[in-house]
Amino acid sequence: MVNPMTDKRLRAALLAAPLVIFVAVTFLAPLALMLVRSVYEPAVADSLPATLNALAEWDGRDLPSEETFRIAGTEFVALNEVRALGSVATRVNRLQSGMRSTLLGTARRLGNDPPAGSWRDAMIDGDEDWAEVSTWLAIRRAGERITPRYYLNALDLDRGAAGEIVAQPEDRRIYVSLLWRTFLISATITAISLALAYPVAWLLAHARPARAGMLLLLVLVPFWTSLLVRTTSWIVLLQNQGVINDLLVVLGIIADEQRLSLIYNMTGTIIAMVHVLLPFMILPLYSIMRTIPPRHMQAAASLGASFWQSFRRVYWPQSLPGVAAGSLLVFIMSIGFYITPALVGGRTGQLISSMIAYHMEQSLNWGLAAALGAILLLLVVLLYLVYNRLVGVDRMRLG
């Protein structure tokens, strides 16, 4: 005898299972892995156990002992023979530029020509970096399994000789300012999208069905067009010798040498991204506005309110859930946008995503990419919580 209730629940669970598994495999698991990567870095610790063991007892002020030099040198050579030194070298190099070739070069030299006498002298003879305390500190630090360094790096911080937290030198402080700029540009994009989308959504929601259908189609056509195609058309339109500038010159609004810089800068990023993201603002607004009875505006008018009074006091507050949903959606999407700013952003229109992509694809510093991503995620979650407080997510509708 099967309990019908259990049976029903089981069936519901089975129906939902494919999606749950899909989300877990394609989203939650990679997310968790990336978060782990941002603090967990076992490669060096696993590769250099003896060296790190020897360095653990070292005071960090004078050069390590001859014994430590010997242990380290031997370990480098052994690793190099099994092709495992390269990945260690890349990781130490992130803490101190130049360490990659120092380590690989030293290992090659020591392997070809093992020192007869002092390892210390042999290593320092081969590469002066070994006479620097900072070299050894870098190796010791790279050997930390659980490390805050990616987060420090992502916040333009570093650790000094004694492990204290210090600011990066000024010419390497990039991430915090990029993060700020990302937020600023995203906020601007959100505000502009809202200003442009609100009247359109209003028309969509309250026009006669036939006309609303046409309008909705116009909104959705760009939605279905490839992102690259759209971005490229913005280049054609906006560049210095582009359609808009040509038009302005022909109409005599600006002189030929006053052509506006509309692309390859922050303006370009904003214009192109507003266009790309506009539907994500219009659709939630539209779906909320459709639920606001047009009678309410009439009621307000009959009660003596002017159009603006009615709008401000009656319509706008009721459309807020849509405003909130659209703004949150557009803001969160712009924060993570990559292709469009890369192509049209030029010097001043780049977002934090460009650095994340660089560390994912070029430098292979996935730990730092993960830390940057995690910070972004944290800020988005915080923002969401604040929004939830202000608007209430149950009132927010995504359409």
Binding site: G86, N93, M99, Q241, M360, E361, L364
Partner: protein, 358 residues
Amino acid sequence: MRNISLLSSLLLAAFSATAAAQTLTLVSWGGSYGRSVERAWVEPFIEETGIEVQIEDYNGGLAQIRAQVESGNVFWDVVDMPTPDAVRGCDEGLLEFVPVEELPPAPDGTPAAEDYPPGSRSDCAGGGIASATIVAYNDELFPGAKPSTLEDYFDLDKFPGRRGMRRVPVVNLEFALIADGVPLDDVYRTLGTDEGIARAFAKLDTIKDQIVFWEAGAQPPQMLADQEVVMTTAYNGRVFNAQILENQPFTIIWDGQVQEASGLVIPLGTPRLDIARQFIEFASSAQSLAAISKYISYSPTRYSGNALVSTHEDTGIEMAPHMPAAEQNMRRALHSDWVWWADNRDEMNERFAVWLTR
């Protein structure tokens, strides 16, 4: 019943694995270069061996290879890769070694080891194609005096107008120092000091307001054609295509260009290692490397390959004047130092990013 279906799906999987083993996946850059790879290497290789080759495009970087190697599911067999990336991939243990002894000797019998210029090849790479990042300008925009040196690219007084530049530190720091009077041999030594780096950025500062940054290789010729910029850094092959195939009035300044090499690598752990090695051996011969230059203005890195450069397959023009490795173009060429870049790339990238936002 269940056992039978399990068995049949296993059989099916085994069968498709065997079938896949017959197909080599070659990953290259697409565009006009990708087409020349197809015509110069892939088509003759299929004809000679009967092995199927599937060509895929990528945008460089090691991320995808790392993901494949780490997950143990390698589906790329041969990848066309710039030497700095190949070196790092080799260091990180992401690529198979390609012993130089396995590469074919020159037509005159010289072993391959002596036929490659020193430092042009990673231990994990075969093949060998040289390209250059050059400065090119649009002739129509300079009716009078024409730019002829790298200094002219940085000289806004003499040649006013906007400059195109790739939004990365690589090559641009070298350009800045060369234009600032640093001898070619001293460029990387100078960059090795803080003062040298400061000097490079200071030189970039002088044209900063006039720079239009590009990202993808197809952009600079387009920007020149649209007169969006008067001069731009670009890959020489892209400019060649615009000049020859589209009759654009572009001129390349062969002065202080930075020469880069690329090679063919094998991601570690591909199940099709044998045919991957077979393809690299095929594509590394002097004839195969020279065949690329029938379609696009990239040079073989091998000395013996350079001697075989002839004419453009479709237009019949002499290719030598357009080649980065041609003698007349090499008078003031800088070989990119991948070791220096491997050591300093992350730091330079951060500094460059800071410089961009300042």
